[in-house]
């Protein structure tokens, strides 16, 4: 009996410790706290970026993850950190039991937006921050005061207005100075997508599987197009066409006038990143690891897809006549649009999920290891790097 009792007790303890260990140390490989990590934006030789939050590691059970976000300004010429502003988490939005943090972390997923002296940032905690680049003074406000929900997508600034989508299922237009709401539009699901604006029309996707075209003046719906899957990618607008990826693995192209389908193209996985257009050719990166090269007119493949060997979640950029694209495993490539040939620029060896950012002949890559790299597109040479944590 003693032997049996001992074995039983030891096994029980082992099971408990194993479960606690696996879950606490993240050995199961699932993160429950948002990390964020935005792409950058360049204005006046300064790159603005919101780094990912530090995750709890090694702390047994209740090591709290970092909740305070920040906006960092970096000189594009030499990679020096110019300044940074803390984005504080202010109140609990949900949970707070057990080891869960009592405040929603200020994880930033969408790239900042710049208008004059102000830099705008939208947080996972449902708050919008406006920071003055010259004085570092900031003001912030909940988009939805009564039910704050995460903001995953980025902001778009046009004139004196900010446009964004929220996980509360609404699209908002805010006053750029006071951050007060000017109008809102309710969709049937969460909105994680970043809006795209052309003329007086805003295009945005929702978890309700629809792409909406809204009037930027008052938020009135012009038309909506329903797909078979949720839409979280940022739409690409060119000429009279809007192009976007859906979770049904299709890339859709619609007429901007009435929302009618022009063509659709099916891949093996999701189109997570925003496509790029150059010279009537759409370059659509996909999570199946391929970049599809399609005719903007018909949606047919111009040439066979280029396989990068690992999923592509980071949105590519156009630099000159080259498309620069990064694979998740940390390789940065350039696709020559005249020959559609692939060229390896560099291999940083770190996970790349954040959208790429370009300025002149330089691209900026922010990695999952929280390093910022500046690369010359022509030579692939690393100009500088900076650890931003």
């Amino acid at each position: 009996m003693e032997i049996r009792s001992n074995i039983a007790l030891k096994v029980c303890l082992a099971v408990v410790l194993l479960l606690v260990g696996l879950t606490s140390f993240g050995c199961i490989g699932i993160r429950t706290s948002p990390q964020g990590g935005s792409g950058g934006i360049v204005a006046d030789n300064t790159l603005f970026l919101c780094p990912a939050l530090k995750q709890a590691s090694g702390g047994f059970g209740c090591a709290a993850p970092q909740t305070e976000g920040k906006l960092v300004a970096v000189s594009t010429s030499d990679g020096n950190r110019l300044w940074e502003v803390s984005l504080e988490a202010s109140r609990a939005t949900s949970g707070g039991y057990g080891c869960a943090p009592s405040v929603a972390p200020v994880a930033i997923y969408g790239s900042p937006a710049v208008a004059g002296d102000l830099v705008y940032v939208a947080g996972y905690n449902g708050r919008i921050y406006a920071i003055s680049a010259s004085t570092r003074l900031s003001q912030d406000r909940y988009v939805n005061e009564t039910n704050p929900q995460p903001i995953i997508g980025g902001l778009v600034v046009v004139g004196d207005r900010l446009y964004l989508g929220s996980a509360d299922g609404r699209v908002y237009a805010l006053n750029g100075t006071s951050l007060e709401k000017e109008w809102e539009f309710k969709t049937g699901g969460k909105v994680w997508s970043t809006p795209a604006i052309e003329g007086n029309t805003l295009y945005i996707g929702s978890f309700d599987k629809k792409l909406y075209a809204l009037d930027t003046g008052d938020g009135a719906e012009k038309w909506a197009f329903e797909t078979e899957g949720a839409i979280i990618s940022t739409p690409l607008v060119y000429d009279d066409t809007v192009c976007f990826g859906s979770f049904d693995r299709h890339l859709y192209c619609l007429d901007t006038g009435d929302g009618s389908l022009k063509w659709k193209f099916m891949a093996d996985s999701w189109f997570w990143a925003k496509p790029v257009i150059y010279d009537d050719t759409v370059y659509a990166p996909c999570l199946d690891g391929k970049v599809y090269i399609l005719s903007a007119e018909t949606g047919s493949e111009v040439v066979g897809a280029i396989d990068l060997g690992s999923p592509i979640s980071s949105s590519p950029v156009l630099v000159g006549s080259e498309i620069v694209v990064a694979s998740e495993e940390g390789k940065v490539f350039a696709i020559d649009t005249s020959s559609n040939q692939l060229r390896l620029l560099t291999e940083v060896g770190e996970v790349i999920n954040a959208p790429l950012c370009a300025s002149d002949e330089t691209i900026y890559v922010y990695t999952g290891s929280q390093n910022l790299y500046a690369l010359n597109v022509e030579s692939g040479a690393q100009l500088w790097s900076l650890a931003i944590k």
Partner: protein, 316 residues
Amino acid sequence: MGIGEIWNLIAMEPMINTLIVLTRYLFNNFGVAIIVVTIIVNAAMLPLTLKQVRASKAMQALQPKLAELQKKYAKDKQRLAQEQMKMYKESGVSPAGCLLPLVVQMPVWIALYQSIMHVLAVIPENLLGLSKYLYSWPVVYSTLPLENQFLWLNLATGDMLLAILVGGTMWVQQKMVMTPGADPKQQQQASMMLWLMPMMFAFLTLSFPSGLALFWVTSNVVRIGIQYSATGWGALVKSAPKKQDERDKKYKQRISEVEKVPQGGDIVAPTVTQEEGLSHEEPGSERQDRGGGYPKSIRAIKRKPRRGRGHRPKRR
């Protein structure tokens, strides 16, 4: 192919895709899908679970003999171990028999846990990571992302009530399989575990999405059902008479104190007539002494009747 890829191929991918497809066909309700998958997984592992329960039961049957051996070879631990092993061999019971199925089931539980956490995809990182586990079935892609609402729960955040349910059901299940031990030290350890595990899981439940807690509660309820059908309520109901004995012991102690001071206090020693008056039997009828009751000196003593049902004196 690395061990991680093999794990994904044989465990994660089937589990994740099953969860998503079931959600689609169960009214797009992920909560119901979690419950159904947990029941299916439990049903698939029923032979192993029953083997574990039977092995535990067989071990329980050997307890008196083991106790004898312990007494006999109390000073010779080596001999005791030898004799115990000999007895296990003769009776065809393996001490590992009740633990091996548990170990085999562990990977399945971990896979289910991982799948639920992945499919919930509450943050972009999780949703992005989910894509590599999906089969190329259109139904899978069109169902995602899943709705997190189930009853009063947001399956993506912790819930207090569900944490209590996890702790409660785990305590019940553990109590049912608990065996009375002769060694007080072992008994103390077992009692500690009885409380420690449910409390720990309840605390963990608060820190994790309640989708996972729903899986734990369902799993516990199913296991309570299996345990009940195999061995009954076990120690869960056996503990009741024990409490009665303790109460009686206290009662006797109080009575002996009262006997020292015959007058006063809230306990009275009624006369035979008074006792008849309190009895529910017909006056004058003879009551058979079945024996085994209180000592003669105490038998005539009864508690002062309290107000309330069952204690009210019979009206004449």
